[in-house]
Symmetry: C2
Subunit: 214 residues, 2 copies
DNA sequence: TTTAGGTGAGTAACCACTCACTTACTATAC
DNA sequence: GTATAGTAAGTGAGTGGTTACTCACCTAAA
């Protein structure tokens, strides 16, 4: 079973090729959308023939679906957020989430794929959206609801409040990554601004004195 | 010059046809994107032959550009907002803007066209974005800056604050119109929530007592 | 009679996808 | 060690269908 590794291999293994095709086509689909990308371009980007692409994926649509299905949710972030949530460190909870989205070197591919798939009405769009974004709303809404019960947050609608915060973040990325609006602040600055603004809006007086006014 | 109007006209005037083609193709482009829409579909939707479409617009791309260029900014809204701004009625200023975007029967076509054109990298995308959205940022940022100087708002970054608010609104529409997330509040409720949350976040103590706590 | 409105029948290029076929690697028999 | 058989990796040259776009021609109204 353990295969030898020749130094100058001329044929890639099935796994390698498949991963290569997925990686190459993912950036193409993200850049041009599903209908805007041709199988010939995919083959060229993957460094193989069109025929081989169809040996690995029965149809262009199946390849697209494989890409969307591959992108999994992020566990390490949620663990860090959960820890901050247990300490009731509001600023850290929201800064972690915002900072994960808004940061130097963040990959714009996922956002473009998400938008394209939703606009083009691909069937896997909903699952993709659920894995990529829904997690945050549910988690944040739960945390906000809890903080309201504890008297730390004002009585706002938890789900709408969670969406408000995620809206600021998502819109920030949309402006910069899709509409190419130049940034006039550092990522850290922007995140701090959004977090402060949001927390000032939801925290009660007592909680604000602890965090929002340095 | 004044032409008679026969009751049973069989040929449309050039203007009428052109408008019909634009209207028909606009909804198709919004639904399927540029590459996802065929000229045959456009002709069928406009109720004429493909050849006639090309008599009016030299290329498919020129037709797309004509659609994006046609969509003009909204003057009556800005007038109403301006009036509220002169009275320093913060709640009304933000409620007007949010309510214009979030309301029953709002046309999702423009949002889809805007996103598709930006994602597909169409040249007119930037102008379209400027006409459709940029106005709000600049106007709001100016208003927020003024309110800060007057001591009514905290010292936030005016542009980031404006984007935060527009982000909540834009994201709300994105969730419902593109990602088909069901609404759990009425449009008016949602708008009121977003406005209250935002104003609580930016207003100083004195201003909050006047507006945000009924 | 003029002319703007309108079309059926193309065209070359391109699309997703197929197939007959070659090549490179490996396990095994000797 | 080497010959060989089996198989996974890989492709050039297509396939029928679709695309954006054209052109010669028609038709109704002023």
């Amino acid at each position: 079973m353990a295969t030898t590794r020749p130094t100058h291999r001329r044929k890639a293994s099935g796994r390698e090729r498949q991963a290569g095709i997925i990686a190459a086509s993912a950036s193409l689909f993200a850049a041009r959308g599903f209908t805007g990308t041709t199988t010939r371009e995919i083959a060229k980007a993957a460094g193989c023939s069109e025929a081989l692409v169809f040996k690995h994926f029965p149809t262009k649509r199946a390849l697209y679906a494989a890409i969307l299905a591959e992108k999994a949710p992020f566990s390490e972030l949620l663990a860090a957020v959960d820890e901050a949530a247990k300490k009731r460190d509001d600023a850290r909870v929201f800064t972690l989430i915002a900072g994960y989205r808004i940061r130097r070197g963040a990959d714009p591919t996922l956002l473009r794929l998400l938008l394209f798939s939703a606009l083009e009405g691909h069937e896997l769009s909903k699952m993709f959206f659920k894995n990529q974004h829904r997690v945050f709303y549910d988690y944040l809404a739960g945390y906000i609801g809890q903080r309201i019960q504890e008297g730390a947050f004002r009585r706002v609608d938890p789900l709408l409040a969670a969406r408000s915060f995620m809206g600021m973040i998502a819109h920030h990325r949309l402006l910069h990554e899709i509409f190419r609006v130049p940034a006039h602040r550092t990522p850290e600055d922007s995140v701090a601004n959004y977090v402060t603004l949001f927390l000032s809006g939801v925290q009660t007086g007592t909680a604000q004195e602890r965090h929002a006014r340095p």
